[in-house]
């Protein structure tokens, strides 16, 4: 086995272990600790490089987007448009469809493939209208008992004059609040860039997963470098310092599992990436479906309220 295979294998086993409810967040099991130590050793020299590789892969132009996954594993897809107030935001796609036989509500960021689509969809940066649309679909899901699947892939919420005037901060806060109120199972997966408030707005879920090369961060590496190093060119250093990669997020207890990607990254094989993601989503939904709604909500809030490291 090459070092790369070894690493992938370890990551998969580690993510499998940490998905067990008993093990999440805490290291109570020797096996888990041993695997983590091995991983650390494997990664010791290359971790900064590996983090930057994830940043590049997460933004790869050929990486599958939400609609690529919808096409591959959602049946009877019906997209729902518009927030019923002001607009239809193309950066955030919502709809209903069947996943493995059950109806689910799906919310996902969508970047564009070509220049025109990228502009139409604002490069996956949603306006408040996008989050209002998401909340509308969450309400439908709650009323009819549909699980909510979120696929996250955004550099961040749109930073513009109109977005501010329409209440970007409030929309992100209320979208999280809506997710904290749901009594249906919710599973989120970061499938590319999990950029700051724009990402967490739809990621307050019972299970939060990350694809192997996705990133999840409080600010873009460039933004962080511009503020703390006063030079956006130091993005690599910034990424190495705040560690937005899946493995570190798992270690910090921020996510519940890592979804493996095809060799070399999801961009190399969309079908295989979709198969792996579908399996993870279905597995997690099945684990949640027998739990009563009130209990799901209680556990979800307890999970997020436990996050953070302080003295």
């Amino acid at each position: 086995m090459t070092e790369k295979d070894q690493e992938l294998n370890l990551r998969q086993r580690l993510s499998g272990l940490s998905r067990l409810p008993l093990l999440r967040g805490v290291r109570v099991n020797g096996e888990s600790e041993r695997l983590e130590r091995q991983l650390e050793r494997l990664q010791a020299d290359t971790s900064d490089e590996a983090i930057w590789r994830s940043v590049e892969l997460a933004r790869h132009a050929d990486r599958p987007y939400t609609m690529d996954y919808v096409e591959r594993f959602i049946d009877d897809w019906v997209e729902l448009h518009g927030d019923r107030g002001r607009a239809d935001d193309g950066a955030l796609v919502t709809g209903l469809g069947k996943l493995d036989g059950r109806t689910v509500a799906l919310i996902g960021h969508q970047k564009g493939r070509d220049v025109k689509e990228r502009l139409d969809r604002q490069f996956g940066m949603a306006y408040p209208e996008g989050y209002h649309k998401a909340m509308r679909v969450m309400e439908i899901a709650e009323r009819f008992g549909f699980p909510v699947i979120s696929l996250i892939d955004t550099p961040g919420a749109y930073p513009g004059v109109a977005a501010e005037q329409h209440g970007q901060g409030g929309a992100i806060a209320r979208s999280q609040a809506e997710m904290a109120r749901l009594t249906v199972p919710t599973v989120a997966c970061i499938i590319g860039e999990g950029g700051s408030g724009g990402a967490v707005a739809i990621a307050v879920s019972d299970r939060v997963l990350m694809q192997e090369h996705a990133i999840y961060s409080v600010i873009t590496p460039e933004g962080c470098a511009a503020i703390l190093w006063r030079d956006a060119g130091e993005a690599k250093k910034a990424a190495a310092a705040f560690k937005p990669d899946a493995l570190h997020c798992l270690e910090l207890g921020v996510i519940d599992g890592i979804v493996a990607e095809p060799e070399g990254g999801a961009q190399n094989d969309h079908d295989e990436a979709a198969r792996l993601l579908r399996t993870a989503l279905v597995e997690n939904l099945e684990e949640l479906e027998d739990t009563p709604g009130e209990e799901l909500r209680r556990r979800r809030r307890a999970k997020f309220r436990g996050m953070g490291v302080f003295a």
């Binding site: 004059v161 977005a163 501010e164 970007q168 700051s196 408030g197 997020f304 953070g308």
Partner: protein
């Protein structure tokens, strides 16, 4: 009479002139200058033009609450450095420096008090501690304030002043958004009122979480209330910004806050609200 000067600085010839460093007691709007005791007596508001200077957390608590009624809670909660974060300086060093300079151990103070006899729970942020940024400790303190309000069945008054999430704690600082949102949802479920006072500036991660979820939200005049600040909007979109972009006045016009209340009237305003929710 000014003497002719020969500029011998080669490397800085084309750099913009350094920003004029104003004394903190000089009003940035009208240039009036005050002694410390004058400012304190005027609640850090310029008596010429009404500009609101930043107000420290403890001073604000003294102003809002009945004398001697404030009892601080969770005073021992402080930040750790989970990522061993190091930019130009280590995060741990920045933290100790902030502690020394501010006399606080975090960017938020929480505790119980009475306002005109009404028992309340308070959570007050202090911008001077690392820009009021929200890391794990601030998130935990705010959440504990919610729990304490629920436990005692009293309203929560939350004063916000923050540049956003604390980058030095990486993804954990982002997780303080859902954490504080969940705490507010518990508060809502328990039918405990939450009144938010937005002071300058209430931006980014704090605006995108608990600050926006108050039952009643008031703001100080001229406070910047924006998810993305004017500089970043300008740089990324090259849009022409309206004069009052992101200020409390614009937020009132667009329906994001309930009222703009000058500092001197805030105590009465809060008392009236507390009577209504009692």
């Amino acid at each position: 009479m000014s003497e002719a000067r020969i500029d011998v600085q080669v490397e800085h010839k084309h750099a913009p002139p350094p920003a004029e460093k104003k004394h903190p007691n000089t009003c940035p709007k009208c240039g009036s200058h005050y002694r410390d005791d004058e400012l304190a007596a005027a609640l850090w508001v310029c008596s010429h033009c009404g500009h609101h200077f930043p107000m420290r957390a403890r001073a604000r608590i003294d102003w809002y609450t009945d004398p001697g009624s404030f009892m601080e809670e969770a005073a021992d909660v402080r930040s750790e450095d989970p990522l061993d974060f190091f930019d130009l300086r280590p995060y741990a060093e920045r933290l100790s420096e902030a502690e020394l300079n501010t006399g606080l151990n975090e960017a938020a103070l929480i505790g119980q008090a009475t306002i005109d006899g009404h028992p309340v729970e308070l959570s007050v942020m202090d911008f001077t501690f690392m820009g009021g940024s929200m890391g794990s400790a601030v998130g935990e303190k705010f959440s504990r304030a919610c729990d304490s309000a629920i436990e005692r069945g009293v309203p929560l008054i939350s004063v916000t002043s923050s540049g956003g999430a604390r980058m030095q704690e990486g993804i954990l600082s982002l997780m303080q958004l859902p954490k504080t949102v969940c705490a507010v949802e518990d508060l809502h479920d328990a039918h405990i009122p939450m009144i938010t006072v937005m002071a300058h500036p209430t931006t980014a991660g704090v605006l995108a979480s608990f600050a926006s979820l108050g039952d009643v939200t008031i703001a100080e005049p001229g406070a910047l209330i924006a998810f993305t600040g004017p500089r970043v909007v300008q740089q990324t979109t090259r849009e022409k910004l309206p004069d009052d972009f992101g200020l409390a006045e614009q937020n009132l016009r667009f329906g994001h806050i309930d009222a703009i209340v000058p500092r001197a009237e805030q105590r009465d305003h809060l008392t009236r609200l507390l009577r209504l929710f009692a």
